[in-house]
């Protein structure tokens, strides 16, 4: 009886931890967070300037500006939403009321795990027989099992260019957005999700809408 008791207590201790939900994102959509500057009236802004490149952080040792097709797709989606909400695009940075900067961030975590027998495929029926290479028995893999987990995000900042610049003055960020989550299986897939997230960011920020309400004559 004692053996059974110890076994049960062992099982209880082994499972005595909090069950965590699956790390897989159930709906495979990005989290979209937006925040305006407190008390900001966006009606005072009309012209916006959006650079034609996207700052990329996390791909390579240094951040860099990308003008790739994917970058252009995200920039265009953002610009379309700005125009839809009543702003006008300008290519003259000096005359813009609002500056928009977009940043793409990739973050990869690399995990290393030591399993007793991680290379399960060795036992898969039909896997390469070591005899194929001569008088060998079995395989020896020297390293541990590794895997990676990546997240990516698109950040958007709108800065107020109507204020007078000066030494020691901080540039006012009047709207910030974060759109991110676990990275998808392909960049194409993630760009599609990010475009939808940009739409959602504007949808949940109706205070950005500076269109004049239509009147009925």
């Amino acid at each position: 009886m004692k053996k059974i008791l110890y076994l049960m207590i062992g099982v209880l201790v082994a499972v005595a931890c909090q069950k965590e939900p699956s790390t897989l994102d159930p709906d495979n959509e990005y989290l979209v967070y937006t925040a305006p500057a407190k008390g900001m009236d966006f009606q005072k802004f009309k012209l916006f300037y959006l650079p034609d490149s996207l700052l990329v952080i996390g791909q390579g040792s240094q951040p860099y500006y990308s003008e790739s097709v994917n970058a252009q797709a995200l920039i265009q989606e953002f610009a379309d939403n700005m125009i839809h909400y009543g702003y006008l695009s300008t290519t003259n940075r000096a005359e813009a009321d609002l500056g928009v900067q977009l940043t793409y961030i990739v973050h990869t975590e690399r995990f290393v795990q030591y399993y007793e027998h991680p290379y399960w495929w060795i036992d898969y029926p039909g896997y390469w027989n070591p005899n194929f290479w001569g008088d060998w028995y079995g395989y020896y893999y020297p390293g541990p099992m590794t895997y990676t987990y990546s997240t990516n995000a698109l950040l958007a900042d709108m800065v107020d260019l109507t204020a007078n610049p000066g030494n020691g003055k901080a540039l006012n960020v009047v709207w910030a957005a974060y759109m991110g989550g676990p990275a998808g299986p392909s960049l194409y897939y993630d760009v599609r999700r990010m475009k939808e997230s940009i739409d959602q960011a504007f949808k949940q920020s109706t205070y950005l809408d500076v269109r004049q309400p239509q009147t009925i004559n």
Binding site: V32, A35, Q204
Partner: protein
């Protein structure tokens, strides 16, 4: 007040001495261990019933019918909320799907009153103690988590069944209600109420 004191003393004496005259009470100690299914009730945070839990409780019969003991259990209830937009302070907003989760682990002391000590042993038990709880919100790659302690009470009815006459091993079934005073305004938690049942082995 005097009547109430008299009543309480009489009740205590009854619990201690009931069936004391019966001779054979067999093994004096017990241990119950097994799986727990829990359903949070009256809870705005998570109200989904799930069986991610386990329990262990033990005691010693100070009289043939009355035992004092200790208990401990744990369990998680989580619930998935599809994507929606949440309005935050100062115009901020977040759109996401999320999981909410409550982890509860109460422990303390108990008093058990069994109706018989034969093959079937139905009982009533009252538990009192403390509960440590974690409440979590999982949003994409973020977790918002708080922890708190509360005072815990739980009445329980159950049955220990010993079908093997030459052994002390049997089966255990119980149903319970529990309440703890855990509190967190941000997650709208004002006490944790639960209903549930337990299936396990009785020693």
């Amino acid at each position: 007040m005097k009547k109430l004191t008299c009543l309480l003393v009489s009740l205590f004496a009854f619990l201690l001495l009931v069936n004391e005259a019966d001779a054979q009470m067999g093994k004096r100690s017990y241990i119950n261990i097994g799986w727990q299914f829990n359903a949070p009730i009256s809870n705005q945070f998570v109200d989904r019933a799930q069986g991610y839990g386990a329990y262990i409780q033990s005691g010693y019969y100070v009289t043939p019918m009355l035992a004092v003991g200790t208990f401990s259990s744990f369990g998680t209830n989580d619930e998935y909320y599809p994507k929606q937009t949440y309005q935050l302070e100062d115009g901020a907003a977040v759109t996401t799907d999320l999981y909410r989760s409550i982890f509860q682990t109460p422990f303390g002391v108990s008093v058990r009153m069994r109706a018989s000590w034969c093959e079937f042993q139905p009982y009533f038990e009252a538990k009192i103690g403390a509960e440590y709880s974690l409440q979590s919100v999982y949003m994409s790659t973020f977790i918002s988590r708080v922890s708190n302690w509360g005072f815990y009470v739980s009445p329980e009815i159950g049955l220990s069944y010993y079908p093997f006459h030459k052994d002390d091993v049997g089966f255990h079934f119980a149903a319970y209600y529990s309440y703890s005073t855990n509190h967190h305004d941000g997650f709208d938690i004002h006490g944790l109420n639960n209903l549930g049942f337990k299936l396990g082995i009785a020693f």
